[in-house]
Amino acid sequence: MGAYSVGIDAGSTYTKGVLLDAQRTIVGTAVQMTGVNIVAAANNVYRAVLQEAGVAEGDVGCLVGTGYGRYNIKFGHVQITEISCHAKGASFLFPATHTVLDMGGQDTKAIRTNERGEVVDFCMNDKCAAGTGRFIEGSARALGLSLKEVGDLSLRSNRAVQVSSTCAVFAESETLELLAWGHSLEDILYGVHSSIATRAIGLLQRVGIEPELAFTGGVSLNRGMVRCLEEQLGVKLNTSERTMFCGAIGAALFGLERMEQEVAAPPVRA
């Protein structure tokens, strides 16, 4: 049996993959847009992490699927929700984590964890994309900007414009209306990020905020979002270039645990 574990997080916007060796070292990461073919995206990401690390498929002992598309990853062994995986991944990257905010393309999750990175409680946004990455995406699209640009531009402002819409669809038209009223792009974008931060903090309060806080998911790469959350929370968030991969990291860690368990108690073969 192979010694490596793969975690694939098929999210609504991006599919992320992580390859861990038996010592829990990240030896490969990959990401691509999920698009319409979840299976193809998952497969591509799987091949990419193997290639990056120069590991053969036969050396993989376990593949765990997570994210919305997890049940489409039929070539995986287990499916675990991204809630459990983000908690585990965040705790791996920042061991003092007790609260996780995962902001993805269409979901925002507030998760309270214990010292082992296990979920104690969680809350998610309502069946609505307000307060998620989609809200930023809508505003970026309306302004003809990339996701990276909107975060960076918002940092140039110190005066957020109030964005009153809570709807990701209406946020697009509101953004254009604010431009027409003469507000600067930077101030509007600061307002957009502030509005999302307020909603996310509402979720965090429902599970209870206990330090340290890790900010994960695709939106954790957005520096404007980090600034708004830290301003409103008054505490520092743990983020890194790897927090986007937290779900996949957690999935791969579950895979390693499963492999260790198997050695201890071999299952009946299917």
């Binding site: 593949l63 995986g76 062994h77 991204e82 459990s84 069946k127 209870g208 073969r269």
Partner: protein
């Protein structure tokens, strides 16, 4: 590369193969079939009654005096029950659209919109023709929207509204002052001459006593059925299966068929327990359920829980027809109107929030639950009000894992299976990890 699909001891969730494996047929599942037959017969009785020129009274599930109606030969019609059955069969959108075309908001209650939609279509519904009301008995006044529902039906059908104003249970310990009971009894006494006038039949008190006595027997049996949820493993699902089982106590109270049904069900549940049979392959999680179910996706909603071998051991929804397991009422043929009034007051939705929380706390303890699921619905703010606070109370103050999910009871537009599954799966993963600790 496969290392086998079978679950290993450390897994926190079912593997792909475990998911594909069919849950073996429970067997011992005759009561549900019998319930289906009784429901069909009830609907047929509406059509036969219409042909025979009988009088129909529309009434609400919560706290109605159908025993009194039956003493006059009046056939009760429950628009809530017809709506949920239509929704269960996928027929809600047409009736909801009919109301929305009339100007009802998308945010208005789905039951009301379906009921008004059915009236606008002259009673034509996907489950058959629902007779026009001769009487609109406004017996549940805890919901403002319901009052307007009956008002709207009055405008559409011309049927008179008879109101029995049922006071809310205001005391936190659930006590009801004697003057509240007197108030309802007084209104029931005033209702009798109205019903005599509407039917042309004199009040038959003996018929009322007999109906009350049969109701009492059915309630006693149903209470015993519900209490089998304390067994480990529980022989039935006190939420998803209760949705079927609660139908006779709602529709057929006061009849011999109703008593026979619960005697049969109690026997079946005991047989299930002795044979070790239940609604899922195994009982891995014992949960408490609060809130109204999702009818348009009922079976796939249930599957989200079955997959985890989760069984509901106690729930509040079946108590909307009467909080029989709290010992708060007991029908008595010796004091028919008084005991009927006590029953009418003790509907779950009539209970204040502190009382509801107390009941749920008792369920968690008495039924040895691992966690609680709260299903809030967009349609009904009176039922779903406070659900966020209840979740926080149980999760933070009592350390009872609690999940709050939201959709609707009849309107399929508010249900998103992928999002629902994500929340439910994550909740059971958390419970699995907690059990491992």
């Amino acid at each position: 590369m496969f290392i086998g699909y079978i679950n290993v001891p450390g897994d926190i969730g079912p593997t792909a193969q475990a998911l594909e494996a069919k849950v073996p047929k429970a067997g011992f599942d005759e009561a549900k079939r019998l319930q289906g037959t009784l429901l069909k017969r009830y609907l047929e009785s509406l059509w036969a009654g219409a042909a025979a020129g009988r009088k129909f009274a529309y009434t609400f599930v919560m706290g109605n005096p159908i025993e009194l109606l039956s003493a006059f030969g009046i056939v009760p019609v429950f628009p809530e029950v017809t709506c949920l059955n239509i929704s269960y069969r996928g027929g809600a959108p047409g009736l909801i659209a009919a109301s929305e075309e009339e100007g009802y908001s998308t945010d208005a209650c789905g039951y009301v919109k379906m009921g008004v939609g059915a009236a606008l279509k002259g009673g034509q519904t996907p489950i058959g023709n629902i007779p026009r009301p001769d009487i609109l008995l406004l017996n549940y006044s805890g919901c403002q929207i319901y009052i307007h529902w009956w008002e709207q039906l009055h405008y559409l059908t011309g049927a008179p509204i008879y109101t029995v104003d049922v006071p809310y249970i205001r005391e936190y310990d659930g006590r009801v002052p004697p003057h509240d009971i007197d108030y309802v009894v007084g209104q029931l006494k005033e209702l009798i001459p109205d019903l005599e006038k509407a039917t042309g039949s004199p009040f038959d008190e003996e018929a009322l006593r007999e109906a009350i006595d049969r109701s009492r027997e059915a309630w006693d049996l149903w209470r015993q059925c519900l209490e089998t949820g304390t067994l480990r493993p529980t022989p039935f699902d006190a939420y998803f299966e209760s949705i079927y089982y609660m139908s006779p106590i709602t529709l057929l109270r006061g009849t011999a068929e109703c008593v026979d049904f619960y005697r049969f069900l109690l026997d079946e549940l005991h047989r299930r327990h002795e044979a070790g049979v239940g609604p899922t392959k195994d009982e891995k999680f014992r949960i408490i359920f609060e809130g109204v179910p999702n009818y348009p996706y009922f079976k796939s909603f249930w599957d989200l829980f079955k997959k985890w071998d989760a069984r509901c051991v106690a729930s509040t929804y079946p108590k909307v027809a009467g909080m029989v397991d709290s010992g708060s009422f007991r029908l008595d043929p010796g004091r028919p109107l008084e005991s009927l009034a006590e029953y009418m007051i003790h509907a779950y939705c009539n209970l204040n929030m502190i009382g509801r929380v107390g009941l749920l706390e008792r369920y968690v303890k008495d039924y040895q639950a691992d966690g609680m699921i709260i299903h809030a619905i967009k349609s009904c703010r009176s039922f779903s009000m406070g659900h966020g606070d209840i979740r926080e109370h149980f999760a933070k103050e009592l350390d009872v894992p609690t999940l709050l999910i939201e959709s609707d009871h009849v309107d399929p537009r508010y249900y998103s299976e992928a999002q629902m599954r994500n929340r439910v799966d994550a909740f059971f993963e958390t419970l699995a990890l907690r059990k491992r600790r």
